[in-house]
């Protein structure tokens, strides 16, 4: 294809990508290096139905002048990235020099909100992704060997968790594990501890969030692997059978090598998806026990005073983390591409 034709074909999507992805990212980068203007504060008297009192207020005229002089706000360089809400260099240095044991250092690091969020997000990603792949593969193999007559209904039921809206799905689970819900009661009975509550314990909350994560995305892995299983070469399979390979050996040496590229694909998508885990934390009211990078960004954007610059810095750090996380998979894909 001539370069001109190629360009004409990709131009519409290129324009859309520049307008909807490149420009917003540039704007976030710019915002992350700025902070809001210094507010001119004055003491004023404020009156209402409950009487008058002295309070402080922002002097609008003075602030307006500052705003017009510098519409983007103050340029602060890397300040937003290194303050306590993000990489917290000063606090990290302090924790390093003042801690005597690793445990003490770790608890100080986990006390910083950004590191708390990143530790949960990484734990979630690295536990949920392999479990999703394993469970999805197991379901796919099981469905594939079921009788043709019940396969349709089986596929439908297996897909349900993925079809249900994440907010609804996680709310259902949240109510089931309530101290008075069916799962909550069952856990109390199993542990013979009537006061045990999933929602009150941080480790249990993390486990529940991850169980939800696997439950919700296993169907996606299942569908992809099920499609892959349809293309497994039956001649190879039969040859292996004649050679005396048992069922497990056939799965291990025939099926898995065949669908390996799909595993890479699912891993890539799941790493990205799990890294921006968001809905279950909201539905489970998990704020007290777990923050992810996404909920951390949201908390900057939902207060009465919105912190766009802080949210922009967290977003950029998230992008960098996703880049690091995906680099092995991307390198692999790039090598496969060059080989082909």
């Amino acid at each position: 294809m001539r370069h001109g034709t190629f360009l004409a074909f990709v131009a519409p999507s290129l324009i859309a990508m520049i307008a909807l992805i490149v420009f917003p990212v540039i704007s976030v980068v710019v915002q992350s290096f700025h902070a809001q203007h210094e507010q001119v504060i004055e003491i004023v008297e404020s009156c209402g139905p409950f009487g008058c009192s002295e309070t402080t207020a922002v002097n609008q005229e003075a602030t307006q002048a500052l705003r017009e002089a510098e519409p983007l706000g103050r340029f602060v360089g890397w300040d937003n990235y290194v303050n306590r809400g993000h990489l917290a260099f000063a606090e990290m240095a302090e924790a390093w020099s003042s801690s005597e044991t690793w445990g003490e250092w770790w608890s100080k690091v986990m006390n910083l909100p950004f590191y708390g969020a990143i530790v949960f997000t990484l734990t979630f990603t690295f536990i949920v992704t392999p479990l999703t792949i394993a469970l999805g593969f197991a379901i796919a193999v099981a469905v594939n060997s079921a009788t043709r007559a019940i396969r349709g209904p089986l596929i439908f039921i297996s897909l349900l968790p993925f079809i249900i809206n994440p907010i609804v799905g996680s709310l259902v689970l949240f109510w089931m594990v309530d101290a008075r819900g069916i799962l909550g009661q069952a856990i109390q009975w199993l542990a013979s501890d009537p006061d045990l509550s999933v929602k009150a314990s941080t480790p249990m909350m993390w486990i529940m969030l991850m169980v939800y994560g696997v439950w919700h995305s296993a169907p996606f892995a299942f569908v992809v692997f099920y499609a892959g299983l349809q293309t497994v070469n039956q001649d190879t399979n039969e040859a292996a059978m004649i050679d005396g390979a048992n069922r497990w050996q056939r799965v291990r040496y025939v099926t898995i090598p065949h669908i390996m590229p799909l595993v890479t694909f699912v891993a890539l998508i799941q790493l990205m998806d799990n890294f921006r885990v968001f809905e279950p934390l909201i539905s489970f009211s998990a704020e007290a026990h777990a923050q992810s990078l996404s909920t951390y960004i949201l908390s900057d954007l939902t207060g009465e005073t919105v912190l766009f610059n802080s949210a922009a810095a967290t977003s950029m750090l998230t992008v960098v983390c996703v880049g690091i996380l995906l680099s092995p998979v991307l390198v692999r894909t790039w090598r496969d591409f060059k080989r082909a």
């Binding site: 008297e45 209402g48 139905p49 306590r84 006061d195 007290a288």
Partner: protein, 413 residues
């Protein structure tokens, strides 16, 4: 969405007009645009519906629990999407900080002769909002359980703790206390209440420098922790809705709850007869010896957008002024809130809020950086409530988180 709200608003007006007479010669007519953004609960729905009934006004209303994240963006453009925002004393601060609402002095002089002075919210001598209702958190209790335990109605948190111990000892209820202690906004609000009750000041006077890591702060956290021992173990996930549900399920005997929610607790829906008929309200709780109740006073009121034409501002002002005039009050609306409107007759469900006002409770501070502190409290206190860190450490974390945010927002220089 907006259409739907508008339609529902219109239906509400039609129904209200059927039952009681709005028209008492105060017919309302103006020329221009009215677009309301506000929270969603019965009292505000009534106000919005009456405002939209004005003749000649092109009106719409977007009443949603997410109003706080919509009002500033929706009023920043020129012309603004919303011509009025219904706000409370916490959320008006964001509108003033962003300079999106206009002083109402001229409009009051021209169209608001009937508005009594106690409804006017003024900052630095300029009227910025018209308040129409008051709200506060106060004690709600179960009369039958207190009687069975042989207890008086508590008036302080120390008495609440003693009562909770007695109720638990007698096996009446396992977790007799309730409270909106959900991590985030609710937990921070309970801290504010208790800290004000201990006589604490949030900031160094006249500056944005936070000062809560002190004796009052530690006493506040210790009291909250002591109370939480008598709550459902899931208390950090219980917001006002979940706490109300616990109450209606009959699991709770004492709690500090919003006046605007007591109507739901005392009606015969959603609870057993034994629960709702024994649900009583009382005044605010005290703590320590400061003499200031451990609660805050709130008002809800409306503002007028700055970035709109004079014609629209006048129409909006007239419609909203009509909506909070005595024409609003009838049998149905009377019990929906503690109205600040002349002619309001207190109902049984309102007694708690009125007692709170007369006990000399302080209003929630209308300070530009209070919201940042509220957010920091909400994020950082749950570690302490779970027993993972000391009160001093939790307060130091709050101060550090607030300072980082306030520096970025330009309040600390």
């Amino acid at each position: 969405m907006t259409k739907m709200t508008k339609l529902m608003g219109a239906t509400a007006v039609a129904m209200a007009m059927g039952t009681a007479a709005y028209a008492d010669g105060h017919a309302c007519a103006a020329d221009g645009r009215l677009s309301i953004i506000g929270n969603e609960f019965p009292a505000i729905q009534s106000v919005a519906a009456l405002a939209q009934s004005c003749d000649g006004v092109e009106s719409e209303a977007n009443l949603t629990a997410d109003h706080q994240s919509l009002n500033v963006p929706g009023m920043t453009g020129n012309p603004a999407e919303y011509t009025t925002a219904i706000v409370a004393n916490s959320s008006i601060v964001a509108l003033i900080n962003n300079d999106v609402i206009q002083p109402l002095d001229n409009l009051v002089a021209q169209y608001g002769a009937d508005i009594p002075d106690h409804m006017k919210i003024s900052v630095n001598g300029e009227i910025m909002a018209i308040a129409f209702m008051a709200n506060a958190q106060h004690l709600v209790y179960r009369a039958d359980i207190l009687e069975a335990a042989g207890l008086e109605v508590p008036t302080s948190y120390e008495e609440v703790l003693a009562a909770a111990e007695t109720i638990r000892e007698q096996g009446l209820l396992e977790n007799p206390l309730g409270g909106a202690y959900a991590s985030g906004w609710n937990l921070a609000q309970e801290f504010n209440n208790m800290y004000i009750g201990h006589g604490g000041e949030f900031f160094e006077p006249g500056t944005a420098n936070v000062a809560i890591n002190n004796e009052a702060g530690i006493a506040t956290l210790e009291m909250m922790k002591a109370l939480s021992e008598y709550m459902n173990p899931d208390f950090l996930t219980h917001d006002s809705n979940a706490t109300s549900a616990e109450w209606e399920a009959g699991n709770v005997a004492l709690m500090n709850m919003w006046g605007s929610r007591t109507g739901v607790l005392m009606d015969d829906e959603g609870a057993a007869e034994e629960v709702y008929s024994n649900t009583m309200v009382s005044g605010p709780l005290m703590v320590g010896d400061s003499g200031v109740p451990a609660t805050t006073l709130w008002w809800d009121g409306w503002t007028v957008s700055k970035n709109i034409s004079d014609e629209d501002a006048a129409a909006t002002f007239q419609a909203m002024a009509h909506a909070v005039s005595p024409a609003l009050l009838n049998d149905e609306t009377m019990s929906q809130a503690v109205w600040l409107i002349d002619g309001f007759e207190p109902q049984t469900v309102n007694e708690g809020v009125l007692a709170t006002v007369s006990a000399g409770a302080k209003p929630y501070p209308m300070v530009p950086y209070q919201g940042l502190l509220h957010t920091a409290l909400g994020n950082e206190l749950s570690d302490f409530m779970q027993g993972n860190e000391s009160a001093e450490q939790a307060l130091a974390d709050v101060e550090a988180a607030y300072t980082a945010a306030a520096t970025e927002a330009g309040f600390i220089q």
